[in-house]
């Protein structure tokens, strides 16, 4: 009885919330228009990096506090990161203020489109204009075609997008620039006016397009940049209050580009490095924090000897070579581990809690991580762990048993899909810890040795024979 009542109440609440949301968003959609939009798409690596500059005007009567962005369904799945910032001031003295971006639902959007809500710093009063800069990244958005190439062929890819920016607002004027990694562009769709100059394609300017205009375009071009995809990365960060931070990273690396067809010839690969296997890659660079020590690089069958570590006072660079050069479709797994001094990363907050301040993303430069798991192993006896991450992640807790553990160490697991180098930002894990627990393990060792000796002494002094001597 009571349960059904509660259900009713929640349902009513939900409907109310939904309706109010609808009202807000539809009203916002009506009363804003974009005066000028400029989009620059950079396709020179495996990640499509898009800079979008919007000049927004409030044409309505009420003040607008947010602006909506929308993405077509093909891009929605590949969207790794959306960032927005407000630009104010003139060219030289431009100041940038980051804005909050949240996913949202817009009822009158086309099916499958994904929308984001940008919260403005100051509500836009009627008639006022503002400039918003948006940066977003798309992974796996370049499709190799042909899907299989031989060792001597370059890698060609398709990139699909729309000539018009998909937007819930009317756009008065818009231009799109697409930058390709080389001048070798085999074909591109034309939506007049379309121009090509060197490595740049220009779509537009287009005047006065209604909301949700869409015109698919296809660009076919050569991209020999390494398509290094980390299919899965597990980073384990283990805190030891005795002064060490131990990081272990398990990689599953794949070449996400066009698959190698048929023969791999070592002769051609070694004798003509420029002409053979241009899309393959054989080394990667990992940027590690400064003061890194005890670095190892191995896989399940032992050490991989081809790596080089350069350290200076500000950063460390580990150059690694997988066991074999990676061609399209080839995979490899390996582990990188290193230690760091704890004082660089663990601090005490004002309320007496401790917190770890560490980078989240993958240290390998220029890679896309499909699934990233960060495990923060806290010392035994830590309580109330909580993570502060600047973007949405999935969280859960685990327990790990390691040296001399009795109750196990709490492990905070953070999971995120589709991670790009832009996610290499700091995150914090707060936890409370009683310093007495630090003594538990040494005391255990000492008492074990003590009891061992006590047992020896007792054994030597007790006559256990039945017969009297």
């Amino acid at each position: 009885m009571e349960a059904s009542l509660r259900a009713q109440r929640t349902a009513a609440l939900l409907i109310f919330a939904f309706l109010s949301l609808l009202a807000v968003s539809s009203s916002a959609a009506q009363e804003i228009q974009i005066l000028n939009a400029e989009r620059r798409i950079d396709l020179s690596s495996q990640i499509a990096i898009v800079f979008l500059t919007l000049k927004v005007e409030n044409t309505g009567k009420a003040a607008a506090s947010e602006v909506l962005l929308s993405f077509p369904p093909t891009e929605a799945d590949h969207l790794a990161e959306v960032k927005a910032q407000a630009a104010s001031g003139k060219k030289r003295k431009k100041t940038h203020v980051p804005l909050d971006v949240k996913p949202t639902d817009v009822p009158d959007a086309p099916k499958g489109a994904k929308c984001f809500r940008i919260a403005l710093l100051n509500p836009l009063s009627p008639g006022e204009t503002s400039t918003i800069e948006v940066l977003y990244m798309l992974t796996h958005s370049m499709e190799p075609f042909p899907a299989e190439i031989s060792q001597s062929e370059p890698q060609l890819v398709y990139y699909r997008d729309s000539a018009y920016i998909l937007s819930p607002y009317r756009i008065k004027q818009q231009t799109t620039f697409i930058k390709t990694p080389s001048t070798n562009v085999l074909s591109f769709s034309r939506v007049e006016p379309t121009n090509r100059a060197g490595m740049e394609l220009k779509y537009g300017p287009y005047e006065d397009r209604p909301a949700y205009s869409f015109s698919p375009v296809l660009v076919h071009f050569e991209n020999n940049n390494p398509f290094a995809v980390v299919e899965e990365l597990v980073r384990e960060v283990e805190i030891s209050h005795w002064g060490n931070l131990q990081i272990t990273e398990h990689y599953t690396l794949a070449h996400g580009g066009a698959k190698l067809k048929g023969v791999f010839s070592r002769v051609d690969y070694q004798s003509r490095p420029g002409a053979s296997g241009v899309s393959s890659f054989k080394n990667l660079l990992a940027r590690l924090p400064a003061r890194v020590h005890s670095v190892y690089y191995r896989d399940e069958i032992g050490n991989i000897s081809s790596s080089r570590l350069r350290t200076d006072s500000r950063k460390s660079e580990l150059e690694i070579e997988p066991r074999y050069p990676l061609f399209g479709g080839w995979k490899s797994t390996f582990v990188i581990g290193y230690g760091l001094p704890l004082e660089d990363f663990l601090f005490e907050s004002t309320d007496g809690k401790r917190y770890l301040n560490f980078t989240f993303g993958c240290p390998l430069s220029g890679t896309v991580v499909d699934k990233l798991t960060v495990k923060v192993v806290l010392p035994e006896g830590s309580k109330d762990p909580s993570a502060v991450v600047p973007f949405p992640v999935e969280q859960h807790m685990e327990t790990k048993y390691s040296y001399l553990d009795v109750v196990g160490r709490p492990v905070l697991v953070l999971e995120k899909k589709n991670v790009v180098p832009e996610h290499n930002t700091l995150f914090q894990v707060y936890y409370s810890f009683n310093p007495v627990f630090m003594l538990a393990e040494p005391l255990m060792l000492v008492s074990t040795v003590f009891f061992l000796f006590a047992a020896c002494v007792a054994y030597l002094h007790i006559d256990v024979s039945i017969r009297k001597r």
């Binding site: 791999f264 010839s265 070694q270 050490n303 991989i304």
Partner: protein, 752 residues
């Protein structure tokens, strides 16, 4: 015998005796500390491989053991016993649980389990790598116990120290060399210790322990037959020399009964423990010792006259029965083709057997007879100390010292047959050298000891034995000291040089894991050749899980363990025909080879080629064995076809059969295009130091899919069959030829 000190000191507690007991107590503590240090030495001298290279499993067989241990730790003991491995010997498979000596695997698996239940997160690999060094420390402690039983604690400590660093044993037990011998030598020495202990004490408790130690040895290594033949030999020796005692009976009879029962529990031994000829000696001696025991018993209860009558009666009846039994035995044994002996045992008894009949045993380098330098390399000056030790064992000759003499004599013979059995010789040599050194020191320091005693007991009357001993020693004190110093110096020189040699052997000669090769470049840098793991890693990540990989059997264990791919043949070599099939394919022309491999579902062929970097133990150098083994089963492969005037060559003078065989083609395919060979001339083979005979050829039935950085491993894929085109005239002809070929092979291949 158990506690002589207490027996001496207990009743008469005079001042001198008190100080002596104190000295004994200190001696005990010092001996204990020395033993701990010896253990540390034995462990740490074997870590060169980890420090110089890495913590990795070595060579070939250890990879199999590692894989089995992984299976055991993942799936548990019951699945392990029932494990049918379908990843090897395709399509036959192998019953691992029933064909493997489980001792090593179970030991490492248990260590891993205990360590992990204590929340120490060690990987299975780490445990496997360090099992051998741990057990070599145990082995040196066992050597201490054994030698102590024979000649006292001084000799024991010397023997333990020597065994801790004898190169022959180091070669088989460096960290990472995870092989049966790693634990088996400990088990062997410990079993011998318990046997001697039982012999000295006559305690049934030690006899039971002895049977258990023997059981552990049977679990660990096929070399257990050495124990079960050596101990009966010793018992027989004792009986023949009139040293029969009830202690001997207790030491032997329970071992045979319990030991045989326990041994037959091990699946790989099973009924072999009573059926094969390797065990007959023990049963024969078992009967003899009972007859002798009965004779002694009857002799005890009968008067001498009656006994004589009984003897004549029993001997006449007994002889007749014995003759009958022996006749039956011989008939049974002779009816089996190998006379009840396994191939390796026969090789031991007749060193020429393998090279005559079983090329697969002869093809393994560790089954070759050793050379003199290898004796010096492996046991060094111990070889010269052993005779002295034998002499020391003869004064006085006891049951236990006669056993040690028997042990050294037999193991010297066995080590002379197979270089691998040098390992059995090593503990014996260490024990005897320990005895020799300890006795020498004993003799030389006697004068010092006696002088001290003389000062202490001035009033006490000198016992006659002491004066005798003093007379044996030199009369002039100055010369005593001089000689003493000289000999001490000499002894230290010996010990020191041995140590230097051992450390050198451990660090330089025996630490290379053989899957990673290193070379020093001209500027002093280290160049690493990690091609094997590169290839295995490529296979494991870029081929389908169920693909079959064909290679020569040397690389079978590594392929299954590191690449996790199914192989046709591996280092277990249990099926000669299957190996011969692979050998035949390798020595056939491309088309026939493709047909053989295709009929076995092979997808990839792996060859090892050292011609680019000069790696001598590659497949081309092993190729003649492939031809021999293949030709042994399939007679159309003839060794002379591959030799030009009896010479094995791959240059322009080589025979056409050689230049067209699969191994040649897969090894040298496109190797003549390598740019680094510009200075040498095109197609120069650095191992054979010649220009190759056939260049610029194409492959028709195989395609190269991977070659490692230094060209050491090359992997080829079988090209798919051509589509059949309807209405072509060739069709009927080709199908006929294929079917006829299958008929021919049907006669040869047992599973077609």
């Amino acid at each position: 015998m158990a506690s002589p000190e207490s027996a001496v000191n207990g009743p008469t507690m005079t001042a001198g005796a008190a100080s002596k007991s104190l000295r004994n107590a200190f001696g005990g503590v010092i001996a204990f500390i020395i033993l701990v240090l010896i253990g540390v030495l034995a462990f740490s001298i074997r870590l060169f491989s980890v420090i110089k290279y890495e913590s990795v499993i070595h060579e070939f067989d250890p990879y199999f053991n590692y894989r089995v241990t992984q299976f055991l730790s993942k799936n548990g003991i019951y699945d392990f016993w029932n494990w049918f491995d379908d990843r090897t010997w395709y399509p036959l498979g192998r019953v691992i649980g029933g064909t493997v000596y489980p001792g090593l695997t179970l030991t490492a698996g248990t260590i891993w389990k205990v360590v992990n239940s204590l929340n120490i997160p060690l990987s299975v690999e780490t445990v496997c790598v360090f099992t051998a060094p741990i057990f070599s420390a145990f082995a040196s402690w066992a050597a201490y116990l054994l030698t102590k039983e024979v000649k006292g604690p001084g000799a024991g400590l010397t023997a333990a120290a020597l065994l801790a660093m004898v190169p022959s044993y180091i070669s088989r037990s460096v960290a990472g060399s995870y092989d049966n011998e790693a634990v088996a030598i400990f088990a062997l020495v410990f079993t011998f210790y318990l046997y001697i202990k039982t012999l000295n004490t006559g305690s049934l408790f030690y006899a039971t322990l002895n049977a258990l130690a023997y059981f552990y040895m049977v679990c660990s290594w096929g070399g257990y037959t050495f124990i079960i033949n050596l101990i009966p030999m010793h018992v027989l020796l004792c009986i023949v020399t009139g040293r029969y005692s009830s202690r001997l009976y207790i030491a032997y009879a329970p071992l045979v009964v319990l030991g045989t029962l326990l041994a037959s529990l091990v699946p790989v031994v099973g009924f072999n423990a009573v059926l094969t000829s390797e065990h007959f000696a023990s049963f024969l001696v078992f009967i003899i010792i009972h007859v002798v025991a009965l004779a002694y018993y009857i002799k005890g209860i009968l008067s001498p006259k009656m006994f004589k009558v009984a003897v004549t009666l029993v001997v006449s009846v007994g002889l007749a029965v014995c003759c009958a039994v022996i006749a039956i035995l011989i008939a049974v044994v002779a009816s089996s083709p190998t006379k009840g002996w396994s191939g390796r045992s026969l090789t031991l008894l007749d060193p020429t057997y393998a090279s005559k009949y079983i090329p697969i045993i002869a093809s393994v380098s560790e089954h070759q007879p050793p050379t003199w330098p290898s004796y010096f390399m492996d046991i060094n000056v111990l070889a010269f100390l052993v005779p002295a030790g034998i002499i020391a064992c003869f004064m006085p000759l006891t049951d236990s010292s006669s056993f040690v003499i028997l042990y050294i004599v037999t193991s010297v013979y066995f080590s002379g047959v197979m270089v691998r059995l040098m390992l059995v010789l090593a503990p014996a040599a260490c024990i005897l050298s320990g005895i020799a050194l300890s006795e020498a020191f004993n003799v030389l320091t006697r004068s010092i000891k006696n002088r001290k005693k003389e000062k202490e007991n001035v009033e006490k009357k000198p016992t006659p034995s002491k004066t005798e001993k003093r007379l044996l020693v030199l009369p002039l004190e100055a010369s005593v000291i001089a000689v003493l110093l000289l000999v001490l110096l000499g002894a230290f020189y010996v010990v020191f040089s041995v140590q230097v040699h051992c450390v050198w052997a451990a660090a330089e000669a025996y630490s290379a894991p053989s899957i990673v090769l290193t070379s020093h470049s001209n500027d002093g840098g280290l160049h690493v050749f990690d091609d094997f793991r590169e290839a295995y890693s490529w296979l494991s990540h870029n081929t389908d899980v169920d693909d079959k990989v064909a290679s020569w059997w040397d690389y079978g264990y590594q392929t299954t363990a590191m690449a996790n791919r199914t192989v046709l043949v591996d280092n277990n070599t249990w099926n000669n025909t299957h190996i011969a099939t692979v050998g035949t394919a390798m020595s056939s022309p491309e088309k026939q080879a493709w047909e053989i491999f295709h009929s076995l579902d092979v997808k990839y062929v792996l060859v090892v080629f050292g011609g680019v970097v000069g790696y001598p133990s590659d497949d081309i150098n092993k190729f003649l064995w492939m031809v021999r083994i293949g030709g042994g089963v399939f007679p159309h492969i003839k060794e002379p076809d591959y030799l030009r005037d009896g010479q094995y060559r791959i240059d322009a003078q080589a025979t056409p059969t050689m230049l067209n065989c699969l191994m040649y083609k897969l090894s040298y395919f496109r190797s003549d295009f390598i740019p680094i060979h510009k200075t040498d001339g095109k197609g120069f083979d650095r191992v054979r130091r010649t220009e190759i005979g056939k260049k610029h050829f194409k492959l028709t039935h195989f395609e190269e899919v991977f070659t490692t950085h230094h060209w050491m491993v090359r992997i080829y894929k079988l090209k798919p069959q051509r589509n059949r085109i309807r209405g072509k005239t060739k069709k009927s002809k080709s199908s006929r030829s294929v079917s006829s070929k299958r008929d021919v092979r049907g006669k040869r291949n047992p599973w077609h």
